[in-house]
Structures are given as C-alpha cells and as structure tokens.
Symmetry: C2
Subunit: 357 residues, 2 copies
C-alpha cells in the first residue's frame, strides 16, 4: 500500500473518534487487544532478523487467509517513513513502540479501522478491536471471532496451565488488555482526578494519556486499562470493567459536570468559551493547546453550554490537529514546529468557518 493510500486514510475519522455509542459523552472508546505468539517460534526479543522476517510472513499470510480479515489493508511498517508511522500511531492503529521499533513488522487493519493486527510488535501478533463509546461486549465478540479465525491458520503458543504465552509475563494467560478511553474534563477542573487515580491504583489498573504508555493525559483524555491478565478469566476482567470500574468513573464525571453547572457555571463557561475563542483567533497553536481547547469545547457541547460547533467537526479536529495528521493533510511532508503551529491554527479557523479578519 502506498503512502498515497495512507494519505487518504488520514482524511477519514477514526472509529474511536466517531463520538457514538453508549455513554459517548464521557466514554470515547472501548478497546480490547489480545497478545498472541506463533507456537515453535522464538519471542521477538530472542529472534534474529531472519526469524523475525519469517514470522512476519507467516502472520501476514494467516491474516490474508482468515475470512474476516481478508479485506484488511496490510502495511509494511518498516518501509514507511517516520511521518506515516506516526500517522498510524495517532489513529491508534499501531502503538508508539511499534512505530519506533526496527526490523520486519507490519500492521493489517479493517478499512473502517474497527480492528487491527500488529505483526511483530512485542508479541508476534497483537489483535485489537476498538469501538467508539462504551461497547466492550461488542468488541469482545468481534475479537473472539478474529482470534478464532487466526487460530485456524496458526498454532498459538499455549500452555495448559498458564494459558497463552507472551513476551512479557504481565500478558501471560489470556493475553487480554481492556482499555477504555475516557474524557474527564470536569474531574480535572474540580481537582478530583486524584481520587480516580488512587482508586485505579488500588484496583491495579493503569491510567495513561491519549497515546498510551509515556504519554501525558493531555486535553483531559485518559486511558484506563487492566495491568494483569494471569489468574483471571477474560470474562472476569471485562465484567469488572463493564459493570464496576467504568460506570463508577462515568458517574463521578457526570456528578462533577453537574456540580460545575449548578455551582460554578460562570467558571465553566469561562473555560468553554475561552477555548472556542482561542481556537477561532489563534495564529499559532501547539497540538497540546489544541487538544486542551478541543477538550473544553467537547465538554461544552456535552453539557449543553455551547451549540455553535458540531460534534463531527470537533472529532475531526481532535485527530487532524495531531502533528502527523496535520503534516500529511497540509503539505504532505515534515514541517518544523513553527510551521506546524501556523498551519494547525489556520486549519482550525478554516474548519470552524472563521472568515479572516
């Protein structure tokens, strides 16, 4: 697949940013991934270049043969330039680690981006299914089917006592990670986020920013994931997220939003309207500032304080103002920070229908 095709992909909105599904005013997306390794092959940390290449071929062939996956786009990540690798990270089709690694590695994904298989990330295969809104069951059903079809093509490393074997011990067992992306602007504004973080720690959950490990929680977007898979069944983990963890945080954020409306409406509106003001007037804007402003505008839309922007435009901007998307969509090449800030601000004003001066 050529970069040109990827450039077309960049224009679409990612599944995870559609802003649909249950509780979508707070739950951005529900993601499940499975870690799998081909039986009889070394883990990648111990594989040489040839074996790595061979595993990539074997896995890619399995993806092509699996009926549900046969229409997937397959991309040779190792052959992409840095800009397009980062583009895939921003779309959450590959991890940052996968983008920055070296050696044979690929990604295959459904055209609608609801599912993807990373080949030769930490494990031989990392299967993910993502849905906008709070739809873990749907994601779970789909990933099970994909897993079954791939298992028809490949024998996975499995131990009768421990379960699926993975490169990192934390994934051994089910190889399952459940990640729910939440938008928690009110909890941040009311300084109650620490309570969520504390509670998550006690439940042995990980809280990360928009782009996984090592990324900040910019713009009030938080990814909550399970950390341990060993000794718990898939359904225990998912039930826990669906019935306990996420509904509690969602209720907490809802209460915080209501408290802001009831008791600090002016301060709330100040954040929301300043954000739209900055987006409409800035001539230079960093991606972090854009994300923060768009976060406040999103809160404005979902609390009914703001009507002057539609959700689709907002979601598009959340993605298209990210550095790689911005560069691919504007000039199609790498730009320096100043150029990016200028083009980002211009793109935002254009999309918001601002007539210049």
């Amino acid at each position: 697949m050529s970069d040109f095709t990827l450039d077309k992909v960049a224009r679409n909105i990612s599944e995870w940013l559609r802003g649909e599904g249950p509780m979508h005013e707070i739950v951005i997306s529900s993601r499940i991934r499975l870690a799998r390794n081909v039986a009889g092959r070394r883990f990648l940390s111990r594989a040489d270049a040839d074996e790595r290449e061979h595993i990539a071929e074997v896995a890619a062939t399995a993806v092509r043969k699996a009926p549900r996956l046969s229409g997937y786009m397959q991309i040779d990540v190792a052959a992409l330039d840095e800009l397009h690798r980062r583009l895939l990270v921003e779309r959450r089709l590959i991890s940052r680690q996968h983008a920055e690694a070296s050696g044979a590695r690929r990604v295959a994904f459904a055209v609608d981006e609801t599912s993807a298989v990373m080949i030769n990330e930490e494990d031989h295969l990392r299967i993910q299914v993502i849905r906008s809104g709070f739809r873990l069951d749907e994601a779970w059903d789909e990933i099970n089917r994909i897993d079954d079809e791939l298992e028809d093509q490949l024998e996975f490393a499995f131990h009768p006592q421990y379960g699926y074997l993975t490169a990192c011990p934390t994934n051994v067992g089910t190889g399952l990670r459940v990640s729910v992306m939440l938008h928690l602007p009110a909890l941040r504004l009311t300084s109650e986020l620490d309570k969520v973080v504390e509670a998550a720690k006690e439940l042995r959950l990980a809280i990360r920013g928009l782009y996984g490990e090592g990324s900040d929680a910019t713009g009030d977007f938080f990814q909550i994931s399970n950390q341990i898979t060993l000794g718990r069944s898939e359904s225990e983990i998912i039930d826990d997220f669906r019935d306990q963890v996420i509904p509690r945080i969602v209720d907490f954020e809802r209460a915080a939003r209501q408290a802001l409306i009831d008791r600090r409406a002016i301060a709330l509106d100040d954040k929301i309207f300043r954000a739209i003001g900055a987006l409409k007037t800035a001539r230079l804007m960093s991606s972090n500032e854009a994300l923060q402003c768009l976060s406040h505008v999103r809160m404005g839309l979902h609390t009914g304080r703001l009507q002057s922007i539609d959700l689709t435009t907002l979601n598009e901007l959340l993605l298209h103002t990210q550095p790689a998307h911005l560069q691919v969509l504007s000039e199609g090449r790498s730009l320096n920070g100043q150029e990016r800030s200028e083009l980002r601000a211009a793109m935002i004003r254009r999309r918001l229908g601002v007539s210049e001066n």
Copy 2:
C-alpha cells in the same frame, strides 16, 4: 461634591486616555507636575492635624480665587470612601499615596481633567497638567499659567539659591516632574525592553508602571519620569524629554513594531487576535489580563493588523475595566474578586458588541 457626581465623572473618558495628540500610537500622555509649599507653614511631615487642616483651607481658597481654576471641582478626599478614592487614582487625578494617606487633604480638577491640584499630598500643593499624546510644551505653558495664578494668591516657600523648597529633597529646585506614559508592546514582545530600562537608568530617569510608584508595568504601559530637579532648569528638563529621551524610545518602539510586521507577522497577529478573542469570550477576567489584552489590541489597531474595534471603545475599556471604575459603573459598591471578574468580562463583551451565545 457628592459621590453621585463622581459617579458621573467615572463614565467619561480621562483626558490622558483620549488617544489623541502627536505620536499617540505610542505616547499615551504627557504630564507635568509642580511641587509647591506655602511659605511660613511646616512641611506636612511635621504639621499637626490643625495646621494640616489650615493649609488645606488656605490652598483650597487660593484655587477658588485663581481665575483659571475657579471652575474646578473640589473634592474632600478625606471624606470619600475607599472606592471613590481609588476611582480618582485610576483617573490619575490623585496619586495612590494621596488616596491612602490620612488627615485633611483635597483635590481640585478641571472638568475636562486636563489639570488638577492635589492639596496636602507630600507637599502642600501638587499641580499637574496632563495632555494625551506627546504635548509637553502645551502642558508646560498651561502649568506655568496655573502656577502664576496660584502664586498671586499664595506665597510659596522659595530659597534664592535652591529654588522652590519641597518636602522631599529630590524635588527641591524647580519642583518639576515630567512624566510621559508610553505604550511599548513591541519592545516587550521582542524582549528589547531591558535596553530601554538600562538607558533610562543611565540618564537617571525613573520607569514605572501605569499607576506610578510601586505599580507594575502591566499591559506594556510605562511611565518615564525625571528623578532629580535640583541644579537643572525647567526648560533643560523639558527640552531633554521632548527632543532626546522620548523621541528615541518612540523610534525604538516603532522599529520593533516594523520588525515584527516584517519578520514575525504571524506571531504578532497571534498575540493581537488571541487578545480580542479572549476579550470577546471570557466569562471571568482580571483587570491585569484585561489590560494586557487591551494593550495587544491597541498595538493591533495602531499597526493596522486589526480593524474590528474603534479606538474610543478601546480607550474606554482601558479605564472602565480598572477595579474602582468597574465597581462604580456596575453596582456602585465594593465587590469581591470573583464578582469583579465576572462583571468585567460581561462589560467587555457588551462594549465589544458580542451577542451572547
């Protein structure tokens, strides 16, 4: 005079903020003041309450009898509440020290606020004449006439060798202080302001903020004054300001503005349009932020980058968003910080013609 009359005064724009006169795009106002003391009376630092009261009466009578000053409003500063004393400070009709002092003290000022006489500030009389723009000669001519007329009514403390005697030695001689208020946003943005401050120090000039001693240079407004009067004639001091000091700084600011336009137009526009964006959208705004935003908008107007606001509205907002003006003009009473921020933001949006969401 009642507070009600002062409340009407508050609605007008001060002379110094008219935005007229030579070099008004950079020189906000030209001010000259003379320090005078009644001969045969103690300086105020040594006067008891009775003598202080007596001096106030004598000076007030002289003001009433002087033909040019006979129509002045006379206000008993000691009888004013704090809010209205601060109102006079914001209009630069009295000093902060005069507002915060205790004991008998007054102010008399022309209805158009181009001249004022503080009675019992540091000296028995402090005469000031102020003009918008760069008009030192005009101010000097007028203050000379006022000084002469007052001297017809009062004998001033004068020493044949030292000149006019004043409470503080730095004013002995001419008792003259020349203060020019400058708007230097480009020098601040280009970080060249330090050079101006250094040069001013070498020339033994004082640089202060908008409201004199102890105030910050908020919103890029700077007051430049002579520090020493002894040993120099009035005309030497004024010639120096008119022909050397101020034209040089004005040229420096002009060059900085042109450099921004030529080489950093986007960054310049970013400041200007973000400022107008914040003014139009904020729901809470401190006086410092308002001043900073209005400063950038003023630069936008005078560099031709922005046309969507008129200078009169801008100048009114510069004054009316100050804390005392805001409180007098909105509720007519003291408000807490949160209330002020809210009313200030609402006033600004209203004056800028923003239709509420």
